[in-house]
């Protein structure tokens, strides 16, 4: 797949539902994981013999384990409410990127093997045998879903395509048809502790050089401690924060917040990754195994609080699943939520007056905020439903003077995925990623033109990496994207109060 094929659609001022282009994205497939990658995380190395029966049996197993899957496969009435809601459909026009059509790829097989009507009247109810063509279509189109849940907001039954995509990926993994990018990363976490495969000494080195730079820049001893036993807070953050740009500016922001508030904190090499790609492949066991490192590190270091850095799907796993996967957290301080989002922590400190800002430091920016899908639609911050929208915005307003919202249909629970979530942030899928970013780029273009927005803040490592890559395809500057704590970092007052 040559990079030359990457084509960004033209930006329109108003969102337009595309005309169907059947097969427009039939060519877009991820690299298949090789035997070494597969076997390292307990999956068959290549497509197993008898894969058809094994896949059907796996689907049966999942139907017993997940009520959501069972209900979602039964309940759809093909009403069409979701058909114009997926960013990949809006960006590509491929009808199989309509959520209902994507679901039907699995549903037709479910009907054939697990329902009475599909066994006896397959043609009538659209049931189909699991053939090699169907399997290949799964591989194509379930790898064009970022599991962002936007469709589930609008479905009258709350059918969540993410759950169906995860089930399909789980089935494909179990018969030896894994996706290289996600499965390779999972192997790295088990081996090294983070998605990037950054070993402990390199991490220490990186943090120390950041400390030196900060000393030079601010004249203060702002620390980024690693494996500090007895620290109050352990921060678990996406490993991209350690060296990728713009991610690292948010890491510096966290450090300044802890410094200014005088809270002893630490990072951990053992749990040097907040991301959890076990979610993306729908594998409970992998998700639990990855998350277990956090529990082990917290016990080892004897910390009292767990705080999670800016990462969307990581926050979903942490907020929604950690208590289930690696709880109970009876060894932590019950006065704080477990886990706590870095934005919740910063917001509380602002409310209590423990930190303050020189907002003019961000005057060069007109800021807008991109809600990340997993934070918006699969988690919460603070005590109230919707805190995940209010708290990051409150921090931005506290740290910057100029803030503008994008179109109401593209923010909060209706936010559009950046186009790179769900384990497809890989180069061979770049064309899909560029096209999937279209709805967000259109909303951004409008506020760039009307209000001169030049900074899109977000709290997700994948969003930051995806936008950095994709913005230039739409003639935007790649440095327009950054973290909320990047703004915090610019404006927070560090001197003695």
């Amino acid at each position: 797949m040559a990079a030359a094929e990457v084509v960004a659609p033209p930006l329109k001022q108003y969102p337009v539902i595309p005309i169907l282009q059947a097969g427009a994205m039939a060519h877009s497939k991820p690299y298949t994981a090789n035997a070494a990658i597969q076997q390292a995380i307990g999956f068959p190395g290549e497509l197993v013999e008898d894969w058809q029966n094994k896949a059907v049996a796996k689907l049966g197993d999942l139907l017993h384990k997940y009520r959501g899957l069972k209900v979602y496969l039964d309940a759809c009435v093909h009403c069409g409410a979701c058909t114009d809601k997926c960013h990949y459909f809006l960006g590509t026009g491929d009808p199989k990127n309509m959520p209902v059509a994507r679901q039907d790829l699995l549903r037709k097989v479910y009907r054939r093997y697990f329902t009475w009507a599909g066994k006896w009247f397959p043609k009538l109810v659209g049931a189909e045998d699991l053939t090699r063509e169907v399997l290949d279509e799964w591989n194509t189109y379930f790898n064009q879903c970022s599991e962002c849940r936007r469709c589930s907001v609008f479905c009258p039954y709350g059918i969540d395509t993410a759950e169906i995509t995860m089930a399909a990926k789980e089935i494909m993994d179990s018969i030896g048809m894994g996706q290289k990018y996600s499965n390779e990363i999972i192997g790295k976490v088990h081996k090294v502790g983070n998605n990037l495969g950054l070993p402990g000494p390199a991490l220490l080195d990186t943090l120390q050089s950041i400390e030196e730079d900060l000393k030079e820049e601010t004249g203060q001893d702002i620390r980024l401690p690693l494996n500090q036993k007895g620290a109050e807070v352990m921060v678990i953050t996406p490993s991209a924060d350690f060296f990728a740009e713009p991610h690292v500016y948010s890491l510096i922001g966290y450090a300044k917040v802890f410094h200014a508030a005088g809270i002893p904190w630490t990072l951990s090499t053992h749990a040097s990754e907040a991301g959890n790609f076990g979610l993306f492949i729908g594998n409970y066991g992998q998700m639990q195994k990855i998350a277990t490192r956090v529990r082990e590190a917290a016990l080892e270091l004897g910390v009292k609080r767990l705080v999670v850095g800016e990462c969307g799907h990581a926050w979903r796993v942490a907020y929604s699943f950690w208590n289930t996967l690696i709880g109970p957290f009876d060894f932590l301080d019950p006065n704080y939520p477990v886990p706590q989002h870095i934005c919740e922590l910063t917001y509380d400190l602002i409310q209590r007056g423990a930190i303050s800002f020189d907002k003019s430091a961000n005057d060069k920016y007109v800021v807008t905020f991109h809600d990340s899908c997993n934070v918006a639609r699969a988690s919460r911050m603070g005590g109230m439903p919707g805190g995940q929208f209010e708290i990051p915005r409150a921090i931005i307003r506290a740290a910057a003077n100029k803030f503008v919202e994008m179109d109401a249909d593209s923010i909060r629970e209706k936010t559009f995925c950046c186009g790179g979530g769900g384990g497809i942030l890989t180069d061979e899928l770049l064309d899909l990623r560029v096209k999937g970013a279209l709805p967000r780029m259109e909303a951004l273009k409008n506020v760039v033109d009307s209000d001169g927005v030049n900074f899109m803040a977000t709290i997700c490592a994948i969003c930051k990496a995806q936008f950095s890559k994709v913005l230039p395809y739409y003639k935007f500057n790649m440095n327009m994207v950054g973290g909320v704590h990047q703004l915090v970092s610019n404006a927070i007052r560090l001197g003695p109060k």
Partner: protein
Amino acid sequence: MTAATIFYALLFYAAFLLCVIGLVYKIADYARTPAPLKIPTTPAPTTAGGVVLRMLREVGLFESLFKANLWIWLFGFMFHVALALVLMRHLRYFTEPVWFWVAWIQPFGIYGGLAMVAGLAGLWARRFLVERIRYISTFSDHLMLALLAGIGISGLLMKFVAHTDIISVKAFFLGLMRFDWQPLPTQPLLLVHLTLVALLIAIFPYSKLLHAPGLFFSPGRNQADNPREQRHIAPWAAALEKAKP
């Protein structure tokens, strides 16, 4: 006792049995299957009371559909409310004496019948006119609409064009309920109406009509958003935990 009476009596018993057995099985199956992870679509209510309210809005107002698409909402809502009204109006065939509120809604029920068919027509038109919905529509989607429209239209025809002997129809159904069969009038329109209704009852648990019970079991809608406050763990996940060294 005519052959038609015996046939329709058996037909309705069979349809009713198929429906009840299928529904009990499906609902038990849904209830038995765990939801191992907290996956409500957020922002979601944080308490059980809040979940009840969210469900009521979904069931009573089709809140999510309203957010999604006004046309689908309009036709879908019109059809479902009208259908509910028509069903309530039909209770008079199964109760003696007729409950006062059933008697009271009789005149509105007629508008219900009209609105029901209009709503179905709107939903059906979308399956032809909107390219995206045409693409996702299957043969059974059309058949289901044909079935419901057939029921509505045959019913309306009996009201407005060719009256049927509803006293005898009522006697037939009361007889069915008391296992004391009474003769069924054999007007063709009535027999068409009853055949389609029996078919609808029979296929309810084996078709996409499962969306009705399904909604109540949808984790995206029926879970409270409180994973930090309360540990949520499915039996199979707990067993997994215990099996570990």
